[in-house]
Amino acid sequence: MAYSDKVIDHYEHPRNVGRLDDKSADVGTGMVGAPACGDVMRLQIQVDAEGVIEDAKFKTYGCGSAIASSSLLTEWVKGKTLDEAVAIKNTHIAEELALPPVKIHCSVLAEDAIKAAVRDIREKRGE
């Protein structure tokens, strides 16, 4: 199966790989997994007092498409508000990366990860 240039670029040069302190009150952590392929994704956001995402980090064990989806997502969410971040749809990611139909679930995983991270920070802040 041929990966698009954008997938290969994100796979070979993933942006924002790493971790943030999940104990911090300003950090939201989203952990999701896709049982069918065994992929595991951790996505973290650092959020300022106004609810704007200042930084994002990810760690993904999975195929090229899963890594590219999470890498792209961390680029996209920086500077966005939490509401804007949860509005990102997997279809946007799949379209941007030109994912083939069999790899759409990788973008679903990324969407679920950002939603889980936002839910986590909102719970921490009692929202």
């Binding site: 989203g30 952990m31 997994g33 049982p35 065994g38 595991v40 951790r42």
Partner: protein, 174 residues
């Protein structure tokens, strides 16, 4: 043998997760012999076609029942639960454990004593897999289908981990 039989009935085995692998292998070989297409070479084309269908079904049944993940998926299907392949899971504690295990696997390559680290990881992964197999068997027997499905998810992640460990074992041997 009838084509409508489920995979357990084909081998005359009880419909449950725990399986007698020796008995399965024995009955698989017996059925393979009985329906082998070579034995039907001189029969009518209808009988030849049937023997082909039986053989395919027997092979599929054996592959499914031998594999711990496929067998669990099949049992859930028999219980009316279709597993959606796109379903994601958010079980944080389990996923965190998976992330740590995958990190350790990554570190094995650069470890001073790769083989020892890999052996340790391999043993741990196998123990976790056995634990979840037992969990699946008991939740399914109790008809706790939601729990059984969650356990199947865990088995899928652990099976992937084991495949990666095996792959690395091969790489290290090269």
């Amino acid at each position: 043998m009838k084509l409508q039989q489920n995979y357990f009935q084909i081998f005359d085995l009880p419909i449950r997760y725990e399986i007698d692998a020796g008995l399965l292998a024995q009955r698989y070989r017996a059925l393979q012999r009985e329906f082998h297409p070579d034995k039907f070479a001189t029969r009518s084309s209808r009988e030849q076609m049937l023997s082909m269908q039986y053989t395919t079904q027997i092979n599929e049944a054996n592959t499914t029942l031998c594999d711990p993940v496929l067998r669990a998926t099949y049992l859930l299907k028999l219980a009316g639960v279709e597993v959606n392949p796109e379903q994601t899971t958010g079980d944080s504690d389990f996923l965190m454990q998976q992330l740590i295990l995958r990190e350790r696997l990554e570190e094995v390559r650069t470890a001073a004593d790769s083989q020892t680290s890999l052996d340790r990881l391999s043993r741990e992964a196998r123990a976790l897999f056995i634990e979840q197999q037992q969990e699946f068997g008991s939740t399914l027997a109790a008809n706790a289908l939601d729990k059984a499905q969650n356990t199947l998810h865990k088995l899928q992640f652990l099976a992937k981990l084991q495949r990666q460990i095996e792959q690395l074992e091969e790489d290290l041997l090269d």
